[in-house]
């Protein structure tokens, strides 16, 4: 029994990580109509910079390293969005996909060259410490991941709903031409949205790093699963991405009990395909949202 509760909490923690990444991908999809296959790379890059370069390499305090990495990757994302992504937007969707895959390849191999192939360990805030609630022990890092993710999601949704900036971002995502006509500097906001998406990805990476090793391919793995989560929840829909991510995390964690840990990664994709066969637009999706 305790084992199941632990597994569920752990799974939800992973779900949180997927949710942060998936949210970013949905933002980019809604605002730019681009499926960003390179998103996982921003995760990897940011995590490496924060932990390996700044914290472990240059002995910066962790919180400062994290903030610096977030800023850096955010700026990088904004830069990429303006230069690369804007240009490929106009092309048919297949071309866009290949382009982002190419970008992903470039980024992954650059990271490989810079940081080397060896995986690193990262203790995070809790190390291996467990937090005990009665007789059930939870991995501290799991709880942190869950907690911070929920906090961020809550803050983000409030920002989106209630602040001017949030409303503008939503307006631009919905119909950027009209927003432009209303005097919104559209490109700046698109870059801003992209930056936010990248920052979310880096946070996700830092949250998951203590639980799994930091490796060059951590981003691709999580990124692809975030895609699967998005697809399950319904493409292009924000609640869909979040629900899909948590659902995926849960089913992955519980499914591993059944299928064994070697096939853990496969669960996400098999699920995605199954869901699509039954509901081609995912649980919350609809044809309009998937429109390219």
């Amino acid at each position: 029994m305790h084992f199941y509760i632990q597994t569920i909490v752990g799974s939800l923690a992973f779900g949180s990580v997927y949710a942060l990444v998936a949210l970013g991908v949905v933002f980019i999809w809604q605002s730019m109509n681009i499926l960003n296959f390179a998103h996982g790379q921003f995760l990897t890059l940011g995590t490496y910079i924060a932990v390996v370069t700044l914290h472990q390499g240059m002995d910066w305090p962790l919180w400062l390293a994290i903030l610096a990495a977030l800023g850096f990757v955010g700026l990088l994302g904004a830069l990429f969005s303006k230069t690369v992504y804007e240009r490929i937007r106009a092309q048919p969707s297949l071309v866009v996909i290949i382009a982002t895959m190419g970008l992903s390849l470039i980024m992954e191999n650059s990271a490989l060259l810079i940081f080397g192939p060896r995986p690193r360990a990262f203790a995070g805030f809790f190390g291996r410490a467990m937090i005990w609630v009665g007789k059930v022990g939870f991995l501290g890092n799991h709880l942190i991941a869950l907690g911070i993710a929920i906090l961020i999601l809550a803050i983000l949704s409030m920002l989106m709903k209630y602040t001017m900036v949030g409303k503008i971002i939503r307006a631009v995502a919905y119909d950027k031409d009209t927003a432009g006509l209303m005097g919104v500097p559209v490109f700046r906001f698109l870059a801003c949205t992209f930056a936010v998406a990248c920052i979310l990805a880096v946070i996700a990476g830092i949250l998951v790093a203590p639980v799994t090793y930091i490796s060059i391919d951590m981003g691709t793995g999580i990124g692809t699963k975030a895609f699967a989560a998005m697809v399950i929840g319904g493409f292009g829909s924000i609640p869909g991405a979040i629900v899909g991510s948590y659902l995926l995390g849960l089913l992955e964690g519980l499914g591993t009990i059944v299928v064994g840990s070697v096939y853990r990664d496969a669960i996400a994709f098999v699920l995605a395909v199954l869901v699509l066969l039954l509901r081609p637009y995912g649980l919350f999706g609809s044809p309009e949202k998937a429109r390219v």
Partner: protein
């Protein structure tokens, strides 16, 4: 006006010009083919021959993928999984089951075709990004299964195959060279036949405007399924050739990165441009061999090349023939459209 029009279309001049054009192309092709047949006879270093055989095999995969992606406009990120399916089915049947080669080859090809059919049917229900993720997922699951089912697939260590004996000769690289090249030529010709047939027109219409295609009588459900099946069968043949040539297969040859490389071949060669796929395959196969020591760099260069092409040069290698054609006057026919419809002799 109609009579003059008809005369222009069947003008003797044009006929002669077209004949000479065809002759020129035929001569160039023959020379190229002969040139390609020379290396096994002249070169002794097995390494170089293997690289060229790799070009032929990759070209076959790229051709198939080009049909699906370039000619029909369907997203397929899992081509390597098709190649891997036939390669593994063949290897498993031959080594673990001791099946005769001919039978094993047949079974592996049939299994790939069915797989292509399945993926194709799934593709008809899904649009753009969904299809991309499903084909991606398919490839990922494929590799995971391959890596983990040690008993059946040999896991990450792969499978070693003993080549068959044909007429007392062990199949070696030189023989495979001719076989692979022959398959490439045959499949390329087949590709041309399909491209210019009603099937090919159906594919291209589905790509350029699916709605119009459906309304004009094309069963796009069938065209999409057929596109995937064609890419699967080409990949299947390539997989068989691969197993025969290298006598060793491992999951690393069929990952998503490899699928991306196949896509790169299609993009560099020009999407929808059949000869270009061969060029693209040559480039993507050979250049990493030139930079053997700098593996990481090569992938960066590959990715950057793709990006550059997509941003600035969407037609890839297909750009050149069209450019040259527009430079050289093709016919002396004058276009005279007076802006009238003449209904005098319908």
């Amino acid at each position: 006006m109609m009579k003059m029009r008809r005369r222009i279309i069947s003008d003797a001049n044009t006929k002669r010009l077209r004949f000479y054009n065809k002759l020129k192309i035929a001569i160039i092709c023959s020379v190229l083919i002969l040139a390609c047949l020379l290396p096994p006879l002249l070169v002794e270093t097995i390494y170089y021959l293997r690289v060229i055989v790799a070009i032929w095999i990759n070209a076959i995969v790229a051709l198939g993928l080009n049909f699906c992606v370039g000619v029909c406009g369907q997203i397929s990120l899992g081509q390597a999984a098709f190649v891997g399916t036939s390669a593994y089915v063949l290897a498993i049947l031959v080594t673990k089951q001791g099946a005769p080669w001919i039978l094993a080859i047949l079974v592996s090809l049939i299994s790939v075709v069915f797989l292509g059919l399945a993926v194709g049917l799934v593709s008809t229900r899904l649009r753009g990004p969904y299809l991309a993720i499903v084909t991606l997922a398919f490839n990922l699951v494929f590799v995971i299964v391959l890596t983990n089912e040690l008993n059946i697939t040999g896991g990450p260590f792969g499978i070693r195959v003993n080549p068959p004996q044909v007429l007392g000769l062990t199949i070696d690289v030189k023989l495979m060279y001719f076989l692979a090249f022959g398959c490439l030529i045959a499949l390329y010709q087949l590709g041309r036949v399909v491209y210019f047939s009603k099937i090919g027109r159906g594919f291209r219409a589905t790509r350029d405007d699916e709605l119009a295609a459906r309304v004009m009588g094309i069963n796009t459900v069938m065209t999409k399924t057929q596109a995937f099946m064609i890419s699967a069968i080409y990949a299947g043949i390539a997989g068989v050739l691969q197993t025969l040539t290298y006598r060793f297969i491992a999951p690393t040859s069929f990952t998503v990165i490899q699928s991306f490389r196949y896509l790169a071949m299609v993009v560099i060669g020009g999407m929808g441009y059949l000869p270009g796929s061969i060029v693209g395959a040559a480039i993507v196969t050979v250049v990493p061999e030139l930079f053997r020591g700098l593996a990481g760099f090569w992938d960066i260069i590959l990715g950057s090349t793709i990006l550059a092409i997509l941003l600035f040069f969407p037609k890839g290698a297909g750009f050149f023939p069209e450019y040259f054609k527009s430079l050289i006057a093709r016919s002396k026919v004058e276009e005279r459209w007076t802006g009238e419809i003449d209904i005098s002799d319908i």
